[in-house]
């Protein structure tokens, strides 16, 4: 293993952090796309030199940048995200119909097998696909047909923020939308079903059997066991053992089950990590102590991981796309904060150290183990 590359998207640019396989000393790049918001960057599993980045600005709109040399150089590719046909309406905050309007790309998910195929989750929530390296984008519109007229934005917007590809069923895709829920396609995005049975959202949804409307923050899967999914919901940490058909709660002894990211250990499918946040109105760790929580039992039994993390006066948040694991041995973990720190652990969470301390607010963290 020659090295590790961490792709960090922030409020004011992207940064690439690199280290050798020991993960002890890190180099932080200059800002890429300085001054722009980088909601997400991700590398292709099929060719790690292919990277995609979502670059946006309130002034200048959306750009997609692509690199084919591991982030040394970039080129802007296609940025036209046009909804298919007449897009209709979703619900606005006050319950009135509101036209679908493209705002930005939240998440880019390159195909597991082809670097020129990449999927995009956007706000207002929709799923797009490119098969030409990001030059052109086509919506998979059936998703919005799954009761999309009832979807209502959460506080962060009506965003499709999570895309999970199933390595053992190449036609299966899971996505998650804030305040709409989880949806699954078994035909590469042509048709979709809501996968929210078992989720309970009594503060938002009076109907306990509501098919859509759940505020899912993140879902995660281990590639060796794709029928098991883990979820950090607005409140509640959840688990599905049947590819999303049903969910049950595994919050267990967490100090709070509100949070944003959830990740699975690279080599242990039952080891999962979350970052508990005090509440939906207080987006910072409980007691001012930044702690990652690990379950080695697939949920319910959690232990705090705090060695090397600030244990007083810490009031940062960790956003949903801002946590990742590498595939080295031992498994490495990385997360970024809204305070601009990126913390890393080279021993599966046993100890942590900042690998960048003073970046702009971190939106996303992805990691690549380089051959």
């Amino acid at each position: 293993m020659s090295g590790v590359r961490v792709l960090v998207g922030t409020h004011k640019g992207a940064f690439i952090l690199t280290s050798d396989g020991t993960r002890k000393r890190w180099n932080v790049s200059d800002a890429h796309f300085a001054g722009w918001e980088l909601y997400h960057l991700k590398g292709s599993p099929a060719d790690p030199n292919w990277l995609y980045a979502s670059q946006s600005s309130g002034w200048f709109g959306q750009q997609i940048q692509r690199s084919t040399d591991g982030g040394r150089t970039w080129e802007p590719v296609g940025n036209k995200f046009a909804y298919d046909g007449v897009p209709g309406t979703h619900q606005w905050y006050d319950g009135t119909p509101h036209p679908w309007e493209f705002k930005r790309v939240w998440h880019l998910e390159p195909s597991l097998t082809n670097p020129e195929t990449v999927y995009a989750g956007v706000e207002d929530a929709a799923f797009f696909r490119s098969t030409d390296g990001g030059q052109t984008w086509q919506e998979c519109p059936e998703l919005r047909g799954v009761k999309g007229h009832l979807w209502q934005p959460g506080a962060g917007g009506l965003c499709l923020h999570t895309i999970v590809l199933d390595p053992s069923h190449p036609e299966r895709i899971f996505i998650a939308i804030s305040a709409a829920g989880v949806f699954r396609s078994d035909d590469v995005g042509k048709t979709w079903r809501p996968m929210n049975r078992g989720l309970k959202s009594p503060y938002e949804l009076p109907d306990p059997k509501a098919e859509v409307g759940h505020c899912v923050h993140r879902i995660a899967m281990h590639p060796s066991r794709p029928n098991v999914l883990f979820m950090q919901k607005h409140w509640d940490v959840m688990r599905s053992d049947d590819a999303g058909e049903s969910w049950h709660e595994v919050s267990g002894n967490l100090p709070t089950d509100f949070g944003f990211p959830i990740v699975v250990h690279a080599h242990e499918p039952d080891t999962i990590y979350v970052v508990p946040i005090k509440s939906d109105s207080e987006h910072y760790p409980p007691e001012g102590k930044l702690r990652v929580y690990r379950s080695r039992t697939g949920g319910n039994e959690w232990e705090a991981l705090a060695n090397g993390l600030p244990q007083r006066d810490c009031y940062v948040n960790v956003l949903r796309d801002a946590m990742a694991v590498d595939s080295l041995e031992p498994c490495g973990l990385y997360f970024g904060t809204t305070g601009g720190q990126v913390y890393a652990s080279a021993d599966a969470g046993g100890s942590w150290a900042p690998i960048a301390r003073d970046l702009p607010a971190v939106f996303s963290v992805e990691v690549q183990a380089l051959p």
Binding site: G58, W59, F60, G61, Q63, P76, N79, K80, F81, F102
Partner: protein, 98 residues
């Protein structure tokens, strides 16, 4: 020849220094100038005008000859001094903050 001044972030995106000089066919209007600009620099599509509606993005302004032309119709002729290249067409990122 039309002279266009882009905001700094769009100069970086388009990889240009200083003013952009364009040969615009027909009458110089906002639409014809922006069509020509986007044809030469495709990465600017969507950054000044919405990709679908072609409307000006809300935080951008068009200035020329000490006038705010932002609310002119897209096919209104630009001032003669702009059409003649004596004055630049300014695309300005609106100041926003507090």
């Amino acid at each position: 020849m039309i002279r266009v001044v882009l905001p700094a972030h769009l100069r970086t995106l388009a990889r240009v220094d200083g003013e952009v000089k364009l040969e615009v066919e027909g009458q110089a209007t906002q639409r014809s100038v922006l069509d020509t600009l986007e044809a030469r620099y495709p990465m600017l599509r969507g950054t000044i005008r919405d990709q679908v509606t072609q409307g000006r993005r809300p935080f951008l302004r068009f200035f020329a000859c000490e006038q705010d032309l932002s609310h002119e119709q897209p096919d209104t002729p630009l001032p003669d001094a702009v059409a003649a290249g004596a004055e630049p067409f300014l695309i300005v990122g609106a100041m926003a903050g507090g």
